[in-house]
């Protein structure tokens, strides 16, 4: 089911960041994710593709335990972050989410100033020793979020006043500010126009230098453009996982091919 040993060897040079083994997710009686095994590498962009309702967002939300906030959701199996099980009782989900940041489908800046939006995480986690330190973190995050030049003169204006694309980059910068190791993105461009999408994609490519990025997307072009590895989900199963180029040009599974060529969806 996996890619050929050949490509495995090439990507094997990078360390494994997250390793999921036999993950099952249930919503009440519904078995939403079945037996998913996936190894997500460090400093790589991994794309999850698949038709709506195939479980890709659900699986993404398992990686930082956001599913804990849903009462009827139950997760089984093992997800290791740097070799430690994140569903272990000793793991504090709050601490975990600081390490595994998340960007959502719709930009959701807090109704605060741009500065306070970015400073929110660092303040909560006590990352800044002084005001100057915090200023530094805010500037650095906004620069890494590729939005510094647009907002540097109005840091104290409300974040909700920005355009959609700027808001989404603000949210990415906000997620970066807590110094996460992994960044999860749940369809980050679905509410954006093509220009803003282009800017965010460029940003994702730059983020790869420092983070392991996992992105859920409905756009196959987007997956092809930004990711190095792609996982195809269908009806709660991980159908195929491999190098992006290979998935899109020479998929092993007939279902993957049908989806990519637009025959199932």
């Amino acid at each position: 089911m996996y890619d050929s040993p050949n490509s495995e060897a090439k990507i094997g040079q990078k360390a494994i960041k997250i390793s999921a083994n036999k993950v099952q997710v249930y919503y009440g009686d519904t078995h939403a994710i079945k037996d998913v095994d996936v190894q997500i590498e460090d400093k790589t962009v991994t794309a999850f593709i698949g038709p709506s309702g195939c479980g890709k967002s659900t699986f993404l939300r398992c990686l930082n335990r956001m599913n804990d906030t849903i009462d009827i959701c139950r997760v089984e199996g093992e997800i290791l972050l740097d070799g430690e099980d994140i569903y272990d009782k000793r793991v504090d989900p709050v601490q975990l989410r600081a390490k595994v940041g998340m960007v959502f489908q719709k930009p959701n800046p807090f109704p605060k100033s741009i500065y306070d939006n970015i400073a929110y995480g660092p303040r909560i986690h006590g990352l800044a020793r002084s005001k100057a330190d915090l200023d530094d973190i805010v500037e650095k995050s906004l620069r890494r979020g590729a939005i510094w030049n647009e907002v540097k003169d109005r840091l104290h204006a409300p974040g909700t006043g920005l355009s959609g694309g700027q808001q989404q980059r603000l949210c990415i910068a906000r997620a970066i500010a807590t110094e996460p190791e992994v960044l999860l993105m749940d369809e980050p461009c679905s509410a954006l126009d093509p220009i803003a999408t282009g800017q965010v994609e460029e940003l994702i490519d730059e983020l790869r230098e420092n983070f392991s990025v996992v992105i859920v997307t409905h756009s196959m072009q987007q997956a092809a453009r930004v990711s190095q590895k792609t996982a195809f989900f269908h009806l709660g199963n991980l159908v195929e996982y491999g190098m992006t180029g290979q998935i899109f040009t020479n998929p092993n599974d007939p279902r993957t091919e049908s989806y990519i060529t637009g025959r199932i969806g």
């Binding site: 930082n64 956001m66 906030t69 009462d71 709050v94 601490q95 975990l96 989410r97 600081a98 390490k99 940041g101 998340m102 960007v103 959502f104 719709k106 959701n108 800046p109 807090f110 109704p111 605060k112 929110y120 995480g121 909560i124 986690h125 909700t160 949210c171 906000r174 997620a175 807590t178």
Partner: protein
């Protein structure tokens, strides 16, 4: 025929029109609904409404206009030298009406014939005793002018009623006929029925607004009267409240105003934190099951009549406070059960569901994506609530608090029973005080002479209160609108 009978006739005509309209529409379509522009019931309603609406409007207008017109005509029959001012004239007119009603009753009971009633003369008949026989008591003997005026009043009324009846039924028939004539399969009955529905909605909305205007006008009128009798400066800045109907009363609003303010302040100090915390618990922490029964239970508090809260204050809270803060408790701060603190605490309890229910709705309307965003950054639940949810909900919460404040200011029963009746300026929350609303009640109950400043002051107090609560409500709405976060 009385007006109610006419009304029934018109309704019956409308019902007939309903059936006829439907039948005619169906006939013109050859019995096939698909050939009709609108559903058959629309044609039926169109005919019924055409019969009903113009006739009823005419009836209502007539019922309002006729007495005024007749009154005017009869008044002119009374010689100028019989009365000195409008007050005396209105006394004579009420006599005239009383006699006219008595004559009506006499005819009805067969004590007088119809002809006798309109032809009897004071010279030959003792009208007072004849009317007394059938149970109509008159204050004095009926003189000639009054009797002739009363007879004229009856005659005019009878003619007016007859014309009214004829016209109303004619209008109903005309509406019925016209709309029946228009009814055919191409007529757009649906659109015309919808116009009537819209007019009904407009009518309902304007009635509510007009009532508000009417209330304000009646307040303004009496307030102006009051300020003619009592200087406004003394009213607004006087520090003594001691009305005495014998004269020489001091009517300063400040002690009452201070009482209102103090009691409301304590009520809000109780209601806002408790209500807010309850709202946060219910909307953020409670499981759906707990929420399902806790929220309705909390809202039961809102359904308790305020007089019951007043009893609670008088019988339970007051004595309890005295036993702690009174002589027995060793502190000796509190003389009796009625005090600012008693009323404030109970009023606070009354306001809890008000604050919590509104705040709960507002907190729930903060989008889940805000919470997700914060939780996704590694914030705990309470950090998320404190730093994201509550700030986002703050404008709405401030609005809720201001609305609660205007309720507290307008509250009366709890104050009457819980706070006492002494108007005084004091800082001690265990003193008895009173509020503007409680004093409005006490100034108007009993035998109030509506020409004295002691009674009219109630309207000035009411007006002041109205302006204050209106300002609070407008301010609350303004805050909610200006600072409301627009979520998509």
């Amino acid at each position: 025929m009385s007006a109610s009978l006419i009304f029934l006739i018109v309704v019956a005509l409308a019902a007939v029109g309903f059936v006829l309209g439907r039948g005619r529409a169906m006939a013109s379509a050859g019995g096939d609904i698909r050939n009709l522009h609108s559903l058959p019931s629309y044609y039926a309603f169109n005919v019924a409404l055409s019969a009903l609406v113009p006739a009823l409007i005419l009836l209502v207008v007539w019922l309002i206009a006729q007495p005024a017109l007749i009154e005017n005509r009869v008044q002119s029959m009374i010689p100028q030298d019989r009365y000195a001012d409008r007050g005396e004239l209105s006394l004579i007119m009420s006599d005239v009406r009383r006699v006219a009603d008595g004559l009506d009753l006499a005819v009805e009971r067969d004590a007088l014939t119809r002809e006798e009633a309109s032809s009897i003369r004071t010279e030959f008949t003792d009208v007072r005793s004849r009317l007394a026989d059938i149970g109509v008591a008159l204050g004095s003997d009926v003189d000639r002018t009054t009797l002739t005026a009363a007879q004229r009043y009856r005659a005019l009324n009878a003619t007016g009623n007859a014309i009214r009846n004829a016209l109303v039924i004619l209008a109903a028939l005309a509406g019925l006929g016209l709309s029946l004539w228009k009814t055919n399969h191409e007529f757009r009955a649906r659109n015309s029925v919808e116009k009537v529905v819209m007019a009904l909605l407009i009518g309902a909305a304007s009635l509510a607004i007009l009532t508000t205007v009417g209330i304000v006008l009646s307040l303004i009128f009496n307030t102006v009267e009051f300020f003619k009798l009592y200087p406004a400066m003394d009213f607004f800045f006087g520090t003594t409240w001691s009305p005495s109907f014998g004269g020489g009363s001091e009517l300063g609003i400040l002690p009452l105003f201070w009482g209102t303010f103090y009691i409301s302040l304590i009520a809000l100090a109780v209601a806002v934190p408790i209500g807010l915390f309850a709202a946060v618990y219910l909307s953020e922490y409670a499981s759906p099951y707990v929420r399902g029964f806790a929220k309705p239970l909390l809202e039961v508090l809102a359904g308790i009549p305020t007089i019951v809260y007043g009893l609670f204050a008088l019988l339970t809270v007051g004595p309890l406070l005295v036993s702690v803060f009174g002589e027995q408790g060793g502190l000796g701060w509190m003389q009796g059960g009625t005090a600012v603190m008693t009323a404030g605490l109970v009023m606070g309890i009354m306001l809890i569901p008000f604050v919590s229910s509104l705040s709960d709705d507002i907190i729930n309307s903060v989008p889940q994506s805000m919470r997700d965003g914060s939780l996704g950054l590694g914030a705990t639940k309470s950090e998320t609530i404190r730093q994201v949810v509550l700030p986002a909900a703050l404008p709405g919460i401030v609005g809720a608090v201001l609305l609660a404040a205007s309720r507290a200011i307008g509250e009366t029963m709890i104050v009457v029973l819980g706070a006492g009746a002494a108007a005084r300026l004091s800082l001690n929350p265990f003193d008895a005080m009173t509020t503007v609303t409680a004093k409005i009640v006490s100034q108007l109950t009993g035998d109030a002479d509506f020409a004295s400043p002691e009674a009219l002051v109630a309207f000035a107090l009411g007006m002041t209160l109205f302006v204050i609560t209106l300002a609070l409500n407008v301010f609350a709405l303004w805050i909610v609108r200006t600072y409301r976060e627009q979520y998509e």
